[in-house]
């Protein structure tokens, strides 16, 4: 067993056994370090950092020489790749820059502190104690600083009085992974909130009533930054601070509510257009169709012909409404007048979407009914009324530059007569034996120029 120490320069052949894949051998001198061995084994897919070597029940350390472990000719070293390690390292790296300003996870010292905290909290005695929220609360209350903050800020007080919150935060403090996860979630939630119109104001309010008092209690207030913050807030048109001493019960702003023109956000060109939707409409402030119209008077620089809908998240109703508007001229659908308020008020809940989908189906069914059956065509305004919009039908058309005739959201230019527009389609329909020109046109209008759908439509008529 001492051979290797007597002949340190000796090159030996080792068997490497990866955790997955087949074994192979490699020759290396016994006085090389583990790191050198790893360099030999590293491949583009398996960088040195993720290689771990195990021999004789020990994980080999990079700086040690192989002879330290008395590795000998023909012995096997197990190679394990540490994907999990790398992932957590990356997670740390992504979390770190985001939290530089919160000063508890900032630098390496922060991590030491965290490790210390988690090992402290892992102590069974401490764990037992911490399992009792009452004890934790009393501990917190014994700190005069904390008490002061709680008295001045009811929101904080409520938070600290909530046993489940306390337990959760303790769990988090104990498990660094959970903590990182929570911080990441937090960051994501914040950025999501920020995307909602008005969300920034709400965030600001939250910051004012929860985070600021906490941080202020840790350090003396800095008037200069406070001033700066105030000025910045004023520029951002943010709300003033809520009444101190009162709970903030204000709901988050409705992201779909109409916004004042001056504040119209270029990120939401279709949302909240004046006159569309809004609280006066039957949609109760939520108008998914608002995305369809590049509504007139919208102050945002949205595209002209395809309207505000172009840059929007996919809207399941956009296609449907395109069809509807396309068939709007002769109006073959004969929509029954749906009174205002016949639609339930909608929030942004999934149920509402289900209802919308049902509504969508209903519309499709109606589309397939012959026009004579449901009475004469309704004026377009009925349709738009139904959606709570005082604007005439052409708001759905997506074009505020062209004529008064309802236009389609398809790419076809709406100015042409349908005969010209669908010339080729009409020809092919004629070839197939559909001789009635006006019916063909109607079918093509209804199908948006799609011949197979038009045929289906004709056959059902």
């Amino acid at each position: 067993m001492d051979d290797s120490e007597n002949t340190p320069q000796q090159a030996i052949v080792l068997t490497i056994r990866p955790s997955s894949g087949s074994t192979f051998t490699t020759a290396i001198s016994t006085d090389s370090t583990v790191l050198q061995l790893k360099e030999k084994l590293a491949t583009p897919e398996l960088p040195i950092a993720s290689i771990r070597l195990v021999y004789s029940g020990r994980v080999l350390k990079d700086d040690d020489q192989l002879l330290f472990y008395s590795v000998q000719e023909g012995h096997t070293i197990h190679m394990v790749k540490s994907a999990s390690n790398r992932a957590s390292e990356q997670a740390v790296q992504t979390v770190r820059p985001l939290n530089n300003n919160t000063n508890n996870l900032g630098g390496p010292e922060g991590f030491d502190e965290q490790r210390m905290l988690s090992s402290l909290l892992d102590n069974p005695a401490i764990r037992d104690m911490m399992a009792n929220p009452e004890v934790v609360r009393r501990m917190m209350m014994s700190n005069p600083q904390t008490r002061e903050v709680m008295e001045n800020n009811p929101e904080v007080a409520q938070m600290l009085n909530d046993p489940s919150f306390l337990r959760q935060s303790l769990d988090m403090a104990r498990n660094p992974k959970l903590m990182k996860q929570a911080l990441r979630n937090n960051d994501r939630a914040l950025s999501n909130l920020e995307m909602v119109p008005g969300g920034f104001n709400h965030l600001r309010r939250m910051y004012r009533s929860v985070q600021e008092p906490m941080e202020a209690s840790r350090s003396a207030p800095q008037p200069s930054t406070d001033d700066l913050n105030e000025r910045f807030a004023a520029q951002l048109n943010a709300d003033t601070r809520p009444n101190a001493g009162a709970l903030n019960t204000t709901a988050l702003p409705n992201p779909w509510a109409p916004r004042p023109q001056a504040r119209a956000n270029p990120m939401f060109p279709g949302f909240g257009t004046p006159g569309m939707g809004g609280n006066s409409g039957s949609m109760g402030g939520f108008n998914p169709f608002a995305t369809l119209g590049g509504a007139p008077g919208l102050s945002t620089p949205s595209g002209s012909s395809s309207g505000g809908g172009a840059g929007q998240p996919p809207n399941p109703f956009a296609a449907m409404m395109g069809q509807r508007a396309g068939g709007g001229a002769p109006n073959p659908f004969g929509l029954p007048p749906l009174g205002e308020g016949s639609m339930p008020p909608m929030g942004n809940n999934p149920e509402m979407f289900q209802q919308m989908m049902q509504f969508n189906q209903m519309m499709r069914q109606m589309q397939q009914q012959p026009p004579g059956q449901a009475g004469p065509g309704l004026p377009p305004s009925t349709l738009s009324n139904m959606f709570g919009s005082p604007f005439p039908m052409d708001t759905f058309g997506g074009s505020n530059t062209t004529s008064t005739t309802p236009s389609t959201t398809t790419s076809v230019a709406p100015a042409q007569a349908p005969e010209e527009r669908f010339e080729t389609q009409l020809a092919s329909l004629r070839e197939m034996g559909f001789s009635d020109q006006s019916r063909n046109i109607r079918a093509l209008l209804a199908s948006g120029g799609d011949v197979p759908s038009a045929i289906e439509f004709l056959l059902r008529m």
Partner: protein, 138 residues
């Protein structure tokens, strides 16, 4: 059948461990290669795939007493692990909760124990247990 003396058996196991003759998921060797009594051993278990233990390496220390292999060795986890048979304060593997230690047979080896512990990690009652961060030690 002749009883294999302690040292013969341990030497055999040592060679097996160093050459890695097992299935590659466990590794073991003497903690101190100069220890002629061959009492203290190191072991590692490479976590089974498709579980929280995947790509983790667990270190153990195993002590083979004077009466090994008539009596089972004592096994301690060095790496922190959450298993029902492992004492959570010192990492000791409870012999009454691991069947190969409870029903120890002379022909069992250190590898038998490590393999069984590895199986335990994938057992249904352990599979879902939350595991401490890798690298933490008892």
């Amino acid at each position: 059948m002749a009883k294999i003396p302690r040292n013969f058996k341990l030497l055999e196991e040592l060679e097996k461990g160093e050459k890695g003759l097992g299935d590659g998921s466990c590794s073991y060797g003497l903690a101190d290669s100069d220890d002629i009594t061959m009492s203290n051993w190191n072991g590692t278990i490479i976590g089974i795939n498709n579980s929280v233990h995947e790509n983790r390496i667990y270190s153990l220390k195993i002590h083979c007493g004077e009466h090994y292999p008539d009596v089972p060795p004592t096994v301690f986890f060095l790496s922190r692990i959450n298993l029902s048979c492992v004492n959570q304060t010192n990492g000791h593997v409870d012999p009454s909760k691991l069947s190969c230690l409870l029903n120890w047979k002379r022909n069992y080896s250190l590898e038998t124990i490590l393999m069984e512990l590895r199986r335990e990690m994938g057992a249904s009652h352990n599979r879902k247990l939350p595991q401490p961060q890798e690298g933490s030690m008892f």
